[in-house]
């Protein structure tokens, strides 16, 4: 088997994508439905009666379950990655996450999904596995290595949880890259070689601002700041809250007791939000459980007033980042916009004023698709790591740690040992000793954050230095080395210098899974075997063929069939029979070729069906996608359609 490239993955709050370097440019890999965005939504299908492995669906198909059985679906799980029980409980107020009842403080919280319980990294692993499979179908070989992006402002635990998710999905995570930095890489590929840029990244659930200096292929991050719980989700929640309150007061229905209806309303809120980016007004029109309709017009001015407090929360991090980088707005040559929420005109206006753009005759840069740019940048970093592309040979990313690392000193004060915005990898050496004669253990509490008291910072880990040779108090000299690696994750080693003995460290992460726990959570460890892998590819190819055949057969019963020419009908018939034969065999490339042939033969047919059924013709769709759109008329199984590439 040929070797698959290292892929770049944007594991987003709302959507996730996978991309790779094709020659000298990053390409986003489409999924089963031809769309490159895989909604970060995971649904548990009804458990098989006879027992066996539970089936989990991911993406659009999982999203469809959301309104009917919301208790079997989880979305926006990124908000919970690496977080403690108390923090998760806080999120529950706004999101329909259901904590497992047996959750205990100090453990990684588990979420109830239908009958089963999963930790946030496991849910993310399902999303990652879907992306991995999309890439594997695309390449026809197993994908083993990936670069995954994380919000720049993610702390150690959040990063570690993301890495754990990758491992559970069967991926070796070669590097975690910060999302804004990845975007800068994607932008920087064919751009001015020298200058200072700011990346303003407002996504579904997180906000990051990074300031970078570009110098002849070196992307040196000067500073980063952000808020890991600020994004489009918050805007949706504002609209949702307004609607829920109005429905309660005007119609006397407390919709909060109807999770399915809340989801329908949330979808309406999201649609309204999206429309308000291009239109002056958007309306809600939702049917309520009692048959009433909730109708509401939202003018853009009202929307902008409503979301102002959310947007204002991005201003302070921007100013702090500039201060930390030692630059004024005028010294920033370019501001790059990333994340779906930057499509909101009010966001662009805020960025314009924060960086004084209009006055300088400049505009925000949103040339690349804000949904795809992070995945593309991840692909560039994947290219850098694999040394596979000439374009990426001269590129080097020097990123920073977003938060200061400290240890709890006497009196509960934080003693900072690595300052925020230090280029990573970064290290610090500290010396510890004993306070009592014969003491053999020393406990160290490591925290991350900017606050003066350790209690106000985020607890990272407690280290117990064990096996110190018994000596007079104050005599042992234990050298502890703290190293933040290129992923932004802390590693600690210790040595007792007087005896020369390596002190044993028991690392107990405050939040997070142990190695052993991660091991037990690895999904489908069976499909590591190459033989199984080939089998799976064959099954997938056959499924894909079957789906297409089904769609064609059903299509031939529609009125559109009669509109085809005789030649077209013959060609489709031949291609159909050819695929039917191929699908019985074991030759995957032959099946793929036959799928492509039938797909090509039915291209016009698909378009005609589409034209007939929907008022707005959507061109260039494949047969399967047409079937997907025509859910009423054609109920084709959701098959693997061959991906289309521009």
């Amino acid at each position: 088997m040929p070797e698959a490239p290292v892929v770049g993955i944007d594991l987003g709050t709302t959507n996730s994508l996978v991309a790779y370097m094709e020659g000298d440019r990053p390409i986003v890999i489409p999924g089963v439905d031809g769309s490159s965005l895989v909604p970060s939504v995971v649904a548990l299908e009804p458990l098989p009666k006879a027992g066996g492995r539970p089936t989990v669906s991911v993406g659009n198909s999982a999203r469809k379950v959301l309104i009917e059985s919301p208790e079997r679906v989880i979305y926006s799980v990124k908000r919970l990655m690496g977080r403690s029980l108390a923090e998760v409980k806080n999120e529950l107020k706004l999101f329909p996450f259901r904590l497992a009842e047996d959750a205990a403080e100090g453990e990684v919280p588990r979420l109830q999904l239908g009958e089963l319980r999963f930790t946030p990294p496991e849910i993310s692993a399902y999303v990652l596995r879907q992306l991995k499979r999309n890439a594997e179908r695309f390449f026809g070989v197993e994908v083993k290595q990936a670069v995954i992006t994380v919000p720049a402002y993610f702390n150690d635990a959040e990063r570690q949880a993301t890495k754990d998710a990758g491992r559970m999905a069967g991926l070796q995570v070669l590097r975690l890259v910060n999302e804004p930095t990845a975007a800068a890489l994607a932008y920087g590929l064919d751009r001015a070689k020298i200058g200072t840029i700011a990346v303003y990244d407002l996504g579904g659930g997180t906000f990051d601002i990074s300031i970078l200096k570009l110098n002849d292929g070196i992307f040196e991050v000067q500073s980063t700041n952000g808020d890991t719980h600020l994004g489009g989700d918050d805007i949706d929640n504002l609209l949702l809250t307004v609607a829920l309150d109005e429905i309660h007061s005007e119609h006397g229905i407390n919709l909060r007791e109807h999770p399915g209806a809340v989801q329908a309303l949330r979808k309406a809120a999201i649609d309204a939000k999206i429309r308000l980016s291009t239109e002056d007004s958007a309306s809600f029109d939702v049917e309520l459980p009692n048959g009433d309709r909730y109708q509401r017009e939202i003018p853009r001015e009202v929307f902008e007033l409503l979301i102002e407090p959310v947007l204002a929360r991005t201003a302070y991090p921007c100013k702090q980042a500039m201060t930390d980088a030692g630059v004024t707005p005028e010294q920033i040559d370019e501001v790059v916009l990333v994340g779906g929420s930057t499509r909101i005109p009010a966001v662009r206006a805020l960025v314009d004023s924060l960086f004084n753009l209009s006055a300088r005759g400049k505009k925000c840069n949103a040339d690349l698709n804000p949904d795809e740019v992070v995945a593309m940048g991840a692909a560039v970093q994947a290219g850098i790591l694999s040394g596979s592309s000439k374009t990426t040979d001269d590129l080097l990313l020097l990123d920073v740690t977003p938060l200061s690392l400290g240890i709890e000193a006497l009196g509960g004060v934080t003693a900072k040992i690595i300052q925020r915005n230090s280029t990573i990898p970064a290290s610090a050496v500290e010396y510890f000793t004993t306070g009592v004669d014969g003491q053999t253990n020393v406990a160290i509490h490591v925290v991350q954050g900017e606050r003066e008291l350790a209690d106000d910072c985020r607890s990272l880990a407690r280290f117990d230095l064990k096996g110190i040779p018994p000596m007079t108090a104050g005599l042992p000299r234990i050298e502890v080395r703290f190293l933040i690696d290129a992923d932004g994750i802390l590693k600690v080693t210790a040595r007792e210098q007087r005896s020369g003995k390596e002190a044993e460290i028991e690392v107990k992460a405050t939040y997070g899974l142990t190695d052993e726990q991660v091991e037990t959570m690895i999904l489908d460890s069976y499909d590591h075997a190459e033989e199984d892998f080939a089998k799976r590819l064959l099954i997938e190819a056959r499924n894909e063929a079957l789906g297409l055949l089904n769609a064609v057969d059903r299509g031939s019963q529609t009125p559109a069939w009669a509109l085809l020419t005789t030649e077209e009908r013959t060609a489709i018939g031949e291609a159909r029979n050819h695929l039917l034969e191929a699908a019985k065999g074991y030759d995957i490339p032959a099946i793929s070729a036959a799928i492509a042939a039938l797909d090509k033969a039915t291209r016009r047919f698909a378009e005609m069906m589409m034209d007939a059924a929907v008022s707005t013709a959507i061109r260039g769709k494949t047969m399967d996608a047409a079937g997907e759109e025509l859910a009423e008329a054609v109920t084709a199984p959701h098959a693997f359609s061959p991906a289309e590439f521009k």
């Binding site: 590097r175 070196i218 790591l385 020097l398 970064a426 290290s427 050496v429 933040i484 290129a486």
Partner: protein
Amino acid sequence: MLKVIDSAVPVACWSCSVAHNTSTLFCPHCSKIQPPAAGDYFSVFSLEPRLNIDTAVLEHEFHRLSRKLHPDRYARATDSEREFALADTALLNDAYRTLKDPLRRTEYLLKLMGAEVGDYTAAEGKPAKDANRAPIDLLEEVFELNMQLEEMRGARKAGEDNTDLERDLTLAKTKFERLVEAVDAELREQWSNWEAGDATARKIAQKHMVALLDRRRYLSNLVREVSETLGA
């Protein structure tokens, strides 16, 4: 805390076993990456301990070394090479961060020479508790400034505007900023004294620099406090 490289001890390459006398980042024989050598931050950039450093040259050298040492370049190398790249780059980054900043550089060199200095970096971002000794020549002004700051905070709390006080404070801020600049100029003078001087002259320069760093720390905390009060 730091050991000066003992270049008389030959170091054997982990890969080809050929010994070489000077510690280098790459084996002169087989070109493989080597673990970090026990040296100070200056030696990372092949510099003698010094204070006058052209930061543009330092940056250029930092980028050149980063390209060669960064873990990204060793993603597919052996475990030990990856480990060395990580350790070498961490050292390079730590060294660059310290040396590019004139104050951290001065402080680092003084510590290297065995002087006791307050921690400039630890005091950053908050009024340092050990830095509350006002320089004697400024006692009176600092006293008055503190009164004005107190008054300003009171006014701010009550939601009142006090343009006179605001103007006074702005003037005071400018004045103290000038004093910081003066300290910086004196520090640079001492840098040159230290670099040009013999052992005795260096001792004297070091003593001056320790005092100057203390004074500067005090002054910049004061400036920050005024800025915060004015900006609040």
